[in-house]
Protein backbone atom coordinates (compact mmCIF):
# COMPACT_ATOMS: atom_id res chain seq x y z
CA UNK A 1 0.00 0.00 0.00
CA UNK A 2 1.44 3.34 -0.90
CA UNK A 3 1.82 5.64 2.03
CA UNK A 4 0.16 8.54 0.22
CA UNK A 5 -3.04 6.57 -0.31
CA UNK A 6 -5.48 6.90 2.59
CA UNK A 7 -6.54 3.63 4.16
CA UNK A 8 -10.21 2.80 3.90
CA UNK A 9 -11.13 0.87 7.01
CA UNK A 10 -13.57 -1.81 5.88
CA UNK A 11 -15.40 -4.05 8.37
CA UNK A 12 -13.55 -7.05 6.93
CA UNK A 13 -10.16 -5.43 7.49
CA UNK A 14 -11.13 -4.39 11.01
CA UNK A 15 -12.25 -7.94 11.78
CA UNK A 16 -9.16 -9.48 10.22
CA UNK A 17 -6.82 -7.20 12.17
CA UNK A 18 -8.71 -7.91 15.41
CA UNK A 19 -8.24 -11.65 14.92
CA UNK A 20 -4.62 -11.11 13.87
CA UNK A 21 -3.92 -9.42 17.19
CA UNK A 22 -5.52 -12.37 19.00
CA UNK A 23 -3.31 -14.73 16.99
CA UNK A 24 -0.18 -12.81 17.93
CA UNK A 25 -1.27 -12.89 21.57
CA UNK A 26 -1.23 -16.68 21.28
CA UNK A 27 2.25 -16.50 19.74
CA UNK A 28 3.40 -14.49 22.76
CA UNK A 29 2.13 -17.34 24.95
CA UNK A 30 4.06 -19.85 22.86
CA UNK A 31 0.88 -21.30 21.37
CA UNK A 32 1.61 -20.83 17.67
CA UNK A 33 1.23 -24.51 16.79
CA UNK A 34 -1.83 -25.27 18.90
CA UNK A 35 -5.36 -26.16 17.89
CA UNK A 36 -6.45 -22.86 19.42
CA UNK A 37 -4.20 -20.97 17.01
CA UNK A 38 -5.34 -23.05 14.04
CA UNK A 39 -9.00 -22.47 14.96
CA UNK A 40 -8.30 -18.75 14.98
CA UNK A 41 -6.60 -18.99 11.57
CA UNK A 42 -9.69 -20.82 10.28
CA UNK A 43 -11.87 -18.03 11.63
CA UNK A 44 -9.66 -15.49 9.85
CA UNK A 45 -10.41 -17.07 6.50
CA UNK A 46 -13.82 -15.38 6.36
CA UNK A 47 -12.66 -11.75 6.55
CA UNK A 48 -9.50 -12.64 4.60
CA UNK A 49 -11.55 -13.76 1.62
CA UNK A 50 -13.00 -10.24 1.28
CA UNK A 51 -9.77 -8.25 1.64
CA UNK A 52 -8.59 -6.11 -1.26
CA UNK A 53 -4.98 -6.27 -2.40
CA UNK A 54 -4.27 -3.00 -0.55
CA UNK A 55 -5.84 -4.36 2.62
CA UNK A 56 -3.76 -7.54 2.37
CA UNK A 57 -0.61 -5.42 2.12
CA UNK A 58 -1.69 -3.42 5.16
CA UNK A 59 -2.43 -6.61 7.13
CA UNK A 60 1.01 -7.95 6.23
CA UNK A 61 2.55 -4.80 7.68
CA UNK A 62 0.50 -5.09 10.86
CA UNK A 63 1.50 -8.71 11.38
CA UNK A 64 5.18 -7.97 10.82
CA UNK A 65 4.97 -5.09 13.31
CA UNK A 66 3.20 -7.22 15.92
CA UNK A 67 6.22 -9.51 16.10
CA UNK A 68 7.89 -6.67 18.02
CA UNK A 69 5.62 -7.61 20.93
CA UNK A 70 7.57 -10.85 21.26
CA UNK A 71 10.95 -9.31 20.39
CA UNK A 72 10.92 -11.29 17.18
CA UNK A 73 10.50 -8.56 14.61
CA UNK A 74 12.39 -8.73 11.35
CA UNK A 75 13.23 -5.24 10.18
CA UNK A 76 15.66 -3.26 8.08
CA UNK A 77 18.46 -1.38 9.84
CA UNK A 78 21.07 1.17 8.91
CA UNK A 79 23.83 3.08 10.71
CA UNK A 80 25.18 5.74 8.35
CA UNK A 81 24.77 9.21 9.92
CA UNK A 82 23.49 10.81 6.71
CA UNK A 83 20.87 8.09 6.34
CA UNK A 84 19.80 8.53 9.92
CA UNK A 85 19.47 12.27 9.44
CA UNK A 86 17.38 11.79 6.32
CA UNK A 87 15.23 9.15 8.02
CA UNK A 88 14.56 11.41 11.00
CA UNK A 89 13.51 14.22 8.68
CA UNK A 90 11.15 11.90 6.82
CA UNK A 91 9.65 10.67 10.07
CA UNK A 92 9.08 14.25 11.23
CA UNK A 93 7.47 15.14 7.92
CA UNK A 94 5.24 12.06 7.92
CA UNK A 95 3.94 12.59 11.44
CA UNK A 96 3.62 16.32 10.85
CA UNK A 97 1.44 15.61 7.82
CA UNK A 98 -0.59 12.94 9.66
CA UNK A 99 0.69 10.36 7.17
CA UNK A 100 0.54 7.46 9.62
CA UNK A 101 0.97 4.79 6.98
CA UNK A 102 4.28 6.42 6.09
CA UNK A 103 5.26 6.48 9.77
CA UNK A 104 4.61 2.74 10.01
CA UNK A 105 6.60 2.13 6.84
CA UNK A 106 9.55 4.17 8.10
CA UNK A 107 9.65 2.24 11.38
CA UNK A 108 10.12 -0.98 9.40
CA UNK A 109 13.54 0.19 8.17
CA UNK A 110 15.04 2.32 10.89
CA UNK A 111 18.34 3.38 12.45
CA UNK A 112 20.02 0.64 14.45
CA UNK A 113 20.32 3.07 17.33
CA UNK A 114 16.60 3.78 17.59
CA UNK A 115 15.36 2.63 21.00
CA UNK A 116 12.75 -0.12 20.90
CA UNK A 117 10.50 1.90 23.20
CA UNK A 118 10.44 4.79 20.73
CA UNK A 119 9.36 2.39 18.00
CA UNK A 120 6.63 0.95 20.21
CA UNK A 121 5.25 4.39 21.05
CA UNK A 122 5.47 5.56 17.46
CA UNK A 123 3.52 2.52 16.34
CA UNK A 124 0.99 2.98 19.13
CA UNK A 125 0.31 6.52 17.94
CA UNK A 126 0.17 5.57 14.27
CA UNK A 127 -2.27 2.70 14.79
CA UNK A 128 -4.42 4.86 17.05
CA UNK A 129 -4.60 7.53 14.37
CA UNK A 130 -5.40 4.95 11.69
CA UNK A 131 -8.37 3.65 13.68
CA UNK A 132 -6.93 0.51 15.28
CA UNK A 133 -7.14 1.25 19.02
CA UNK A 134 -6.60 -2.35 20.12
CA UNK A 135 -3.37 -2.62 18.16
CA UNK A 136 -2.34 0.79 19.49
CA UNK A 137 -3.04 -0.32 23.07
CA UNK A 138 -0.97 -3.46 22.60
CA UNK A 139 2.07 -1.43 21.54
CA UNK A 140 1.52 1.22 24.22
CA UNK A 141 1.12 -1.39 26.96
CA UNK A 142 4.28 -3.15 25.86
CA UNK A 143 6.15 0.16 25.92
CA UNK A 144 4.82 0.89 29.39
CA UNK A 145 5.86 -2.50 30.72
CA UNK A 146 9.25 -2.13 29.10
CA UNK A 147 9.70 1.27 30.73
CA UNK A 148 8.97 -0.07 34.21
CA UNK A 149 11.32 -2.98 33.69
CA UNK A 150 8.77 -5.78 33.72
CA UNK A 151 9.86 -6.86 30.24
CA UNK A 152 13.59 -7.26 30.49
CA UNK A 153 13.65 -8.93 27.09
CA UNK A 154 12.91 -5.73 25.15
CA UNK A 155 16.02 -5.09 23.14
CA UNK A 156 17.04 -2.27 20.90
CA UNK A 157 18.41 -4.91 18.51
CA UNK A 158 15.20 -6.87 18.19
CA UNK A 159 16.06 -9.91 16.15
CA UNK A 160 18.95 -11.89 14.85
CA UNK A 161 17.63 -11.51 11.32
CA UNK A 162 18.48 -7.84 11.17
CA UNK A 163 19.32 -6.22 7.89
CA UNK A 164 21.86 -3.53 7.33
CA UNK A 165 20.85 -2.04 4.07
CA UNK A 166 22.36 0.72 2.03
CA UNK A 167 19.01 2.35 1.55
CA UNK A 168 15.74 2.09 3.38
CA UNK A 169 13.91 -0.24 1.05
CA UNK A 170 12.96 -3.10 3.30
CA UNK A 171 9.38 -2.13 3.71
CA UNK A 172 8.93 -0.35 0.44
CA UNK A 173 7.78 -3.32 -1.59
Amino acid sequence: MSADKPLQLSPHLAEYVRLLLDLHRLFIQGKEDTQEADDLRDEMEVPASYLSREEVTFAQGVSGDLYQLQDDEICGRFDAPDQIQEWEARLRDASGQDDWLAVLELERTRPSSRPARDVLLSRALAYEKLGFPDIASAFAEYARRAACGSIPAVQDQPHSLVHTRASGGFGAG
Binding site: L23, H24, R41, A48, R53, G64, I74, L161, G173
Partner: protein, 168 residues
Protein backbone atom coordinates in the same frame (compact mmCIF):
# COMPACT_ATOMS: atom_id res chain seq x y z
CA UNK B 1 -0.44 -26.81 -19.20
CA UNK B 2 0.40 -23.45 -17.58
CA UNK B 3 2.63 -23.40 -14.51
CA UNK B 4 0.48 -22.60 -11.48
CA UNK B 5 1.19 -21.87 -7.82
CA UNK B 6 -1.19 -22.06 -4.87
CA UNK B 7 -0.91 -22.29 -1.08
CA UNK B 8 -2.69 -25.34 0.28
CA UNK B 9 -2.59 -27.49 3.37
CA UNK B 10 -0.63 -30.70 3.11
CA UNK B 11 -2.21 -34.07 3.82
CA UNK B 12 -0.26 -37.29 3.33
CA UNK B 13 2.26 -35.58 1.09
CA UNK B 14 -0.36 -34.05 -1.19
CA UNK B 15 -2.57 -30.97 -1.12
CA UNK B 16 -5.66 -31.51 0.99
CA UNK B 17 -8.87 -31.48 -1.04
CA UNK B 18 -11.96 -29.61 0.13
CA UNK B 19 -13.86 -26.38 -0.32
CA UNK B 20 -11.93 -23.56 1.32
CA UNK B 21 -9.30 -21.02 0.38
CA UNK B 22 -6.49 -23.15 1.76
CA UNK B 23 -7.16 -26.47 0.07
CA UNK B 24 -7.51 -27.90 -3.42
CA UNK B 25 -11.00 -26.79 -4.37
CA UNK B 26 -13.26 -23.78 -4.44
CA UNK B 27 -15.32 -22.04 -1.79
CA UNK B 28 -18.99 -22.32 -2.59
CA UNK B 29 -21.88 -20.10 -1.48
CA UNK B 30 -22.81 -20.77 2.12
CA UNK B 31 -19.37 -22.08 3.02
CA UNK B 32 -16.53 -20.25 4.77
CA UNK B 33 -15.88 -16.80 3.32
CA UNK B 34 -16.58 -15.25 -0.04
CA UNK B 35 -17.58 -17.80 -2.68
CA UNK B 36 -15.05 -18.38 -5.48
CA UNK B 37 -17.79 -19.25 -7.98
CA UNK B 38 -21.58 -18.92 -7.94
CA UNK B 39 -23.64 -21.78 -9.39
CA UNK B 40 -26.92 -20.84 -11.04
CA UNK B 41 -30.26 -21.91 -9.55
CA UNK B 42 -29.93 -25.35 -11.12
CA UNK B 43 -26.39 -25.84 -9.84
CA UNK B 44 -24.50 -25.18 -13.07
CA UNK B 45 -21.24 -23.23 -13.22
CA UNK B 46 -19.91 -21.42 -16.28
CA UNK B 47 -16.54 -20.52 -17.79
CA UNK B 48 -15.43 -16.96 -17.10
CA UNK B 49 -17.33 -16.64 -13.82
CA UNK B 50 -14.67 -17.46 -11.22
CA UNK B 51 -12.82 -20.41 -9.84
CA UNK B 52 -9.82 -21.49 -7.81
CA UNK B 53 -7.22 -18.73 -7.32
CA UNK B 54 -3.71 -19.41 -8.64
CA UNK B 55 -0.58 -17.39 -9.42
CA UNK B 56 2.19 -17.68 -12.02
CA UNK B 57 5.01 -17.69 -9.44
CA UNK B 58 5.57 -18.29 -5.75
CA UNK B 59 6.53 -14.64 -5.33
CA UNK B 60 3.34 -13.37 -6.96
CA UNK B 61 1.37 -15.80 -4.85
CA UNK B 62 2.91 -14.80 -1.53
CA UNK B 63 2.53 -11.08 -2.21
CA UNK B 64 -1.22 -11.58 -2.43
CA UNK B 65 -1.67 -13.67 0.71
CA UNK B 66 -2.81 -12.36 4.08
CA UNK B 67 -0.44 -13.24 6.96
CA UNK B 68 -2.63 -16.10 8.23
CA UNK B 69 -2.19 -17.85 4.86
CA UNK B 70 1.62 -17.62 4.80
CA UNK B 71 3.25 -20.50 6.69
CA UNK B 72 4.83 -19.03 9.82
CA UNK B 73 8.16 -20.75 9.26
CA UNK B 74 8.54 -18.82 5.97
CA UNK B 75 9.59 -15.82 8.07
CA UNK B 76 13.02 -17.49 8.28
CA UNK B 77 13.39 -16.82 4.56
CA UNK B 78 12.98 -13.07 5.04
CA UNK B 79 16.74 -12.66 5.33
CA UNK B 80 17.60 -14.90 2.38
CA UNK B 81 20.19 -13.12 0.19
CA UNK B 82 18.39 -13.95 -3.04
CA UNK B 83 15.01 -12.84 -1.82
CA UNK B 84 13.55 -9.94 -3.83
CA UNK B 85 13.25 -6.84 -1.64
CA UNK B 86 9.51 -6.71 -2.27
CA UNK B 87 9.04 -10.08 -0.59
CA UNK B 88 10.76 -9.22 2.69
CA UNK B 89 7.80 -7.33 4.17
CA UNK B 90 5.58 -10.19 3.03
CA UNK B 91 7.58 -12.93 4.70
CA UNK B 92 8.16 -10.94 7.92
CA UNK B 93 4.38 -11.05 8.37
CA UNK B 94 4.03 -14.85 8.11
CA UNK B 95 1.63 -16.21 10.73
CA UNK B 96 -0.03 -19.21 9.05
CA UNK B 97 -0.39 -22.87 9.92
CA UNK B 98 2.67 -25.06 9.76
CA UNK B 99 0.77 -27.49 7.49
CA UNK B 100 0.49 -24.89 4.71
CA UNK B 101 2.78 -25.37 1.72
CA UNK B 102 3.34 -23.69 -1.62
CA UNK B 103 2.35 -26.14 -4.36
CA UNK B 104 2.94 -25.97 -8.08
CA UNK B 105 1.84 -27.83 -11.17
CA UNK B 106 2.33 -27.50 -14.92
CA UNK B 107 5.23 -26.12 -16.91
CA UNK B 108 3.86 -23.77 -19.56
CA UNK B 109 3.36 -20.00 -19.69
CA UNK B 110 0.68 -18.40 -17.54
CA UNK B 111 -1.76 -17.76 -20.36
CA UNK B 112 -5.41 -18.62 -20.81
CA UNK B 113 -6.05 -22.14 -21.99
CA UNK B 114 -7.09 -25.64 -21.12
CA UNK B 115 -5.61 -27.44 -18.13
CA UNK B 116 -7.47 -30.67 -18.87
CA UNK B 117 -10.81 -31.60 -20.43
CA UNK B 118 -12.80 -30.00 -17.61
CA UNK B 119 -10.62 -27.15 -16.40
CA UNK B 120 -9.18 -24.01 -17.95
CA UNK B 121 -7.01 -21.13 -16.74
CA UNK B 122 -8.33 -17.59 -17.06
CA UNK B 123 -5.90 -14.80 -16.26
CA UNK B 124 -7.41 -12.17 -13.99
CA UNK B 125 -8.22 -9.23 -16.29
CA UNK B 126 -7.34 -6.82 -13.49
CA UNK B 127 -4.11 -8.51 -12.41
CA UNK B 128 -1.92 -10.54 -14.76
CA UNK B 129 -0.11 -12.07 -11.77
CA UNK B 130 -3.30 -13.81 -10.67
CA UNK B 131 -5.66 -16.24 -12.33
CA UNK B 132 -8.60 -18.59 -11.91
CA UNK B 133 -8.85 -22.29 -12.61
CA UNK B 134 -12.38 -22.39 -13.99
CA UNK B 135 -14.74 -24.89 -15.58
CA UNK B 136 -13.80 -25.24 -19.25
CA UNK B 137 -17.48 -25.62 -20.20
CA UNK B 138 -20.86 -25.50 -18.51
CA UNK B 139 -21.05 -28.23 -15.89
CA UNK B 140 -22.60 -29.04 -12.55
CA UNK B 141 -20.77 -27.47 -9.63
CA UNK B 142 -20.11 -30.89 -8.11
CA UNK B 143 -18.42 -31.98 -11.35
CA UNK B 144 -16.26 -28.84 -11.29
CA UNK B 145 -15.22 -29.41 -7.69
CA UNK B 146 -14.44 -33.06 -8.48
CA UNK B 147 -12.36 -32.02 -11.50
CA UNK B 148 -10.29 -29.74 -9.27
CA UNK B 149 -9.83 -32.53 -6.74
CA UNK B 150 -8.68 -34.91 -9.49
CA UNK B 151 -5.64 -32.69 -10.14
CA UNK B 152 -4.28 -33.67 -6.72
CA UNK B 153 -1.57 -35.96 -8.09
CA UNK B 154 -0.31 -33.24 -10.46
CA UNK B 155 0.72 -30.86 -7.67
CA UNK B 156 4.16 -30.92 -6.08
CA UNK B 157 5.76 -28.76 -3.44
CA UNK B 158 7.53 -25.70 -4.78
CA UNK B 159 11.22 -25.24 -4.02
CA UNK B 160 11.31 -21.88 -2.31
CA UNK B 161 15.09 -21.73 -2.37
CA UNK B 162 14.60 -20.71 -5.99
CA UNK B 163 12.24 -17.93 -5.04
CA UNK B 164 14.74 -15.17 -5.70
CA UNK B 165 15.98 -16.59 -8.99
CA UNK B 166 12.48 -17.24 -10.15
CA UNK B 167 11.46 -13.64 -9.69
CA UNK B 168 14.73 -12.13 -10.79
Amino acid sequence: MPKLFRVMEEENGQPRVGASGRVLGVRLPGAVGKADIEPDVEGYVYPGTGGMSVSPSAAALLERLPPSMIPKHFSRLADHPFLPAALRPVLRSAAGKSTLCVWTMGEGPFTAGFIDDDLALRVDPGDEQHGFVEPSCVMMVEAFQAALHRTRDAWSKADLLHLGKETG
